[in-house]
Each structure stands twice: as structure tokens, then as C-alpha cells.
Subunit: 340 residues, 2 copies
């Protein structure tokens, strides 16, 4: 919608739009829950027809569809709505790339609660949620994460697995830290037939990884390690460690502590693959990586989206000799390849 607003300044429309932005979240969440995008599918459909298909009121559907059209999720011709390339690819459940499920985690009551008292959060400089917010041990929301965030991670997991197996370096033992859905370690296992994967996570989440490893047919090479990444012994002799979407939950000191522990469990020449939202050094671009810090401010005591310079400093301090940054295609995340 912002792009449709007048760009002339001063512009009170930006203020109106931002004050009411919470309605965007509510509207898209409702559309996904009503499975509106699947109900539209490849057709041009009227509000009356959609109301019938979604078991909802015509008035509600009409207002929702007009709203989603303004936002860019639908197109409208006369009184009929159709999908855009974006909603067709990512919000119609028939699409293999459908990622609608991620609202279950990203808009879960716990995450929304992290932004309910933002003034106090900014005053104190960290989450107002109890027990460290999303860093609370064995948090149920990580099960939701593991169950619902896979589609968003799919392109990144394929890119990561390709990078991990590049050049036919031997991969015998792979550690996947805070494995979540397990997608990253599983993708590596599928490409490296000799690799044993150790998937580490909170015990409540490991059921999800285990189920996904079975579905992928690599359960015999998939081993579970339950616990806290900072406390549980990793063992030794790893050729590769995967650290995906993890460092941003902690302050730099904690990150270095963990990176040292990772360095110690790697064989000489072993590699660490770190997947992260990495803003430019100006911290205001690109938009998704730059605004990821806000998510960490609301949800963690001291997490952040670190720049490349910050990552390099932390990795060097932990004993990694070189690090290279690679843009993950079709993803706002970057992959850091570091060598012991």
C-alpha cells in the first residue's frame, strides 16, 4: 500500500498508514486461515462466490478482498478477484512453494505479545516477555516454528546443502544446531550419502526433526541431541556445523562463546555455515534484514541482526580463519561460509 501512497512530503498518509498497519497483519492472517487464496485459485471469482466457498459473509469477504487488492495480494477486474503471481506462488495451498503456514509462528500470541508494550521495551532495551522471551528453554513456540516455517526456508536449505557439498569435501559428521524443522541437516544428508547428522534442539522440538528425517528417508543417519546449545556437550570430530537463524537471538559476547564451542568441535579445516539476516553496515538496508533487529528487540533480551563486520569480528575471535558471505537466492538471508 505504501507504494500507492503519495510520495510527496510532508505526507500525513504515511502516518495514517503506519498507525493502521496492524490491520494488514490481521487481514492477511484471516485470509490464510479462511484459505481464501486457495479458494480463488486460477479463477476470477466474485465476493459472493468466495463467501460461499470460504463459509463466510459476502460483506466480510468483499471488504477483505478489496483490502488485499490495495495491498497487492489480489487483482480486481469489475467485481471479480484473481491472484497475483505472488499470492499464486506463495499463498495458494496447491503451490509447492506455499508459505501461508508461517503466520502460525510469526503471528502466534507469544510473538505478538512481544510488541504489546513497545515503549517499555525500548526504555529497557530488551523484551518485556518473561523468562527471556523466545530464548526461554523448551518454549512451545519453537515447535510451531519447526512445523510452520519450512516453506520459507526451502530455497535457503537447498542453497546451503549445495554449498556444504561443493568440491566433494568429505562429510562424515555434521552438527545441525537448533535444527528446528531439520530441513538444513536433512538437505545435506540427502546430498552427502556418507554423512551422519547430529540434530541438536530443545527436547520438545526434536520430534519434528525426527519425523521430517523419517519422511526424507535418512532416519538411519539422523541422531538427536537434546538440550541447550550453550550447555549440552556437542562431542567432537565434525566436518561441518550448521548454525541457521540462531546467533541473532543473543548478544555478541554470547555469540562468541558459542562460536568458540563450535570451533572446538570441528576438525581442522572443518566448516561452519551460518545463515542469518545480515543488514548492510548502515543498518537501514536492505529492508527485511534491517528491520529484523526490531523483531529481536521485541522478543529477546539482547539479540540483534548483525552486520558482516560484526559477524567477521565474532568469527575471528572464535578462531575461524576466513569467512565469506553469499546471498541466498529468493531469500532475505545470507549464508556465511567460515573455515576453522
Amino acid at each position: 500500500m505504501s507504494s500507492a501512497l503519495s510520495q510527496q512530503e510532508p505526507n500525513p498518509q504515511l502516518i495514517w498508514d503506519t498507525i493502521n498497519a496492524y490491520q494488514r497483519t490481521s487481514a492477511l492472517g484471516a485470509a490464510i486461515e479462511l484459505d481464501l487464496f486457495t479458494a480463488i485459485g486460477p479463477e476470477d471469482v466474485t465476493a459472493e462466490h468466495l463467501a460461499n466457498k470460504c463459509a463466510a459473509s459476502t460483506r466480510g469477504i468483499r471488504i477483505l478482498c478489496d483490502y488485499l487488492t490495495v495491498l497487492g495480494f489480489l487483482r480486481k477486474h469489475a467485481a471479480a478477484y484473481c491472484l497475483t503471481p505472488t499470492s499464486s506462488a506463495f499463498l495458494d495451498r496447491r503451490s509447492p512453494a506455499c508459505m501461508g503456514s508461517m503466520v502460525q509462528f510469526l503471528n502466534s500470541p507469544k510473538l505478538l505479545a512481544g510488541f504489546a508494550n513497545m515503549t517499555e521495551t525500548i526504555r529497557r532495551g530488551g523484551t518485556t516477555l518473561s523468562h527471556g522471551g523466545v530464548n526461554e528453554p523448551e518454549l512451545n513456540e519453537w515447535v510451531l516454528f519447526a512445523q510452520s516455517m519450512m516453506p520459507l526456508m526451502k530455497p535457503a536449505s537447498e542453497f546451503l546443502a549445495e554449498e556444504a557439498t561443493r568440491g566433494n569435501q568429505p562429510l562424515h559428521r555434521v552438527l545441525d544446531i537448533a535444527a528446528g524443522h531439520g530441513l538444513f541437516g536433512i538437505a545435506v544428508a540427502q546430498r552427502a550419502s556418507g554423512a551422519e547428522i547430529v540434530a541438536m534442539d530443545w527436547p520438545n522440538v526434536l520430534n519434528v526433526e525426527e519425523g521430517n528425517a523419517k519422511s526424507a528417508g535418512i532416519a538411519d543417519r539422523y541422531h538427536l541431541l537434546a538440550g541447550d546449545a550453550f550447555a549440552v556437550p556437542f562431542g567432537a570430530g565434525y566436518d561441518l556445523v550448521l548454525l541457521t537463524g540462531f546467533l541473532h537471538h543473543f548478544d555478541e559476547h554470547a555469540c562468541v562463546t558459542l562460536l568458540k564451542k563450535i570451533n572446538a568441535c570441528l576438525n581442522d579445516g572443518g566448516r561452519l555455515l551460518t545463515l542469518e539476516f545480515i543488514p548492510d553496515e548502515d543498518r537501514i538496508s536492505p529492508p527485511i534484514a534491517a528491520t529484523f533487529s526490531m523483531l529481536m528487540l521485541g522478543l529477546t533480551p539482547a539479540g540483534d541482526a548483525y552486520t558482516m563486520k560484526q559477524h567477521e569480528r565474532m568469527l575471528r575471535e572464535a578462531g575461524f580463519t576466513k569467512s565469506e558471505m553469499k546471498q541466498v537466492p529468493q531469500s532475505p538471508q545470507q549464508l556465511l561460509v567460515s573455515t576453522k
Copy 2:
């Protein structure tokens, strides 16, 4: 931020951005509550300096300011932030046009609650709030509205008063329905020295109008009428009726009922000035008027943003002979001038 997103489709960034849009609301609300924009003022200020001025943490302020920069409310040069023309004009409390106060109403717990269960709202086609949502008699939020929404209405009130007094038509009696802050009737009274204003509203709100009329020096010509617009007798002999931001709360049948009652209280040749969010007939443009229907879906049983054709039909049915639409400068609202 949308404008900074890649415009290429398919584009999962739009989905990520919309799912997380609620954070925009939280961040701007916190910035206004911390009086961040006033603290920046005409200077280039670092996060450290601002943290000190706003009695907040440096980390919280730095992440907030980077986020507001991505959204377009600030600019960043090296490590210092400065206001944009928009935030300088409308969010710095030293500016006479400052409208930061409107978060108090627009993000009040009651309004936010109207979007907490959007799926059910769309299923039933009306608010899930009890007692008719914001149409509940003597709702406290209308006091908040009257106290906090004046700055947004200022340009519209001047335009309306100019229109009301155009051509030196005699203005003896003016009825201001659901007067709220009273700004519209007061602006007319200030330009038409012979006009007596009858300000109608819920009794709990009328204190605000009365105070503002006193401040404006027109209290001796300002009369209060407490009650429900659909039930309280208006009296008769009006030259002008003001109906600002009111029709959108009700369905078309109720609107016609009220418009007939208004028509009946007007002198022959008397005028009705209706200020409304009026979307184009396609209902998907311009963005603010088009998305206003979503606000009414969340907050009322059957309200809507009506198009010009719908307004014309309702006004004709109520006995008005002609209606003309005028775009209010610096406002997303339109003014309808109708004659009995």
C-alpha cells in the same frame, strides 16, 4: 517500507512484510509516546544522545530509529538521525500541525481488539466486539477521539467552514451531528458571526466540545444537545447541518433514515455538508479511502466507506435535490455539499 521492497513478482517479501506489519504500529506508537520526534527536532542526533533525552536504552533507541528510517519517518547520516519533512511537520510536538496524539484513539485497546479475531469477523460480516463495537452508546473511546483527533481534522474543518460560508448565505442555525471535538461547528461559528451552533453528541463527549467552544470564544453561541443521533429530536429551522465522519458507521438503510431526519430539520434550500472517506467506484482506490472499509468491518456491525454513487442514492432517497463532491486539500476525505 513496501516501496523499498523488490517490486518483482512473485515476491515473498510482501508476505513477510505484511505478516510483520503490526510491528510498524507498535514502533510508531512507542516513538510518539517516548516523544522521540520532538527529541530529534531540527538536529542530527545519535542514538546515545536520544536515549539520554528520551530516558530510554541506547539499544532500544538505535533499533527503533533504524526501523523508522526504513519506514520513511527518519533519515540517517553516518550514526545520526534527523527528521523527514513528514515527521517534522506532523510528529514533532513543536509543529502546529502535529498529529501524534491520534494514536491515542486509533490504537486504543478497544480499536485494536476489533482486529483480534478477524477470521470470525469476516465469517459473520461484522465486528466481534460486544454492544455494536464503536456504535455502543456513550462509548468512552469517543471522548478519546474528541481529545486526540483534532490535528488530523484541522485542514478539513477550515475547508468545510469556507464552503459553509461561501456566497454569504445566511447562517442562523447550524446543527453539528456527533460533533466530537467540535472543530467543524466551531470553525463555522468563527466565520459566521450570526450563527448559533447546536452540537449534538453522546453526553460523555459534550464536555470536550464545550471546552473547545469556550477556548475559541464562541461559547455564547454554542448549544449542547445530548443523545443518540437516531433518537434525539433535532428541532427545526436549520440552515446548515454538518455530518462529519458519521455515515460510515451504519448500513445504507440506517443512513437513509438519518438523512431523512436531517432533511426534515432543514429549512428549504438548507444545506447538508457530509465529510467522508469516499472510495472510487472500483472500491480499491485511493488507498486510504478504499481501506477505510476494513476499519468499519472490524469496529461496527455493518458500517462501510460508501462510494459517490451510493452516497448520491442515499441522499436522493432522503430528499436532497443535488449533491456535489469536493476533494478536501491535504486530507484523504471528501466533502459532499447537498441541498434540500
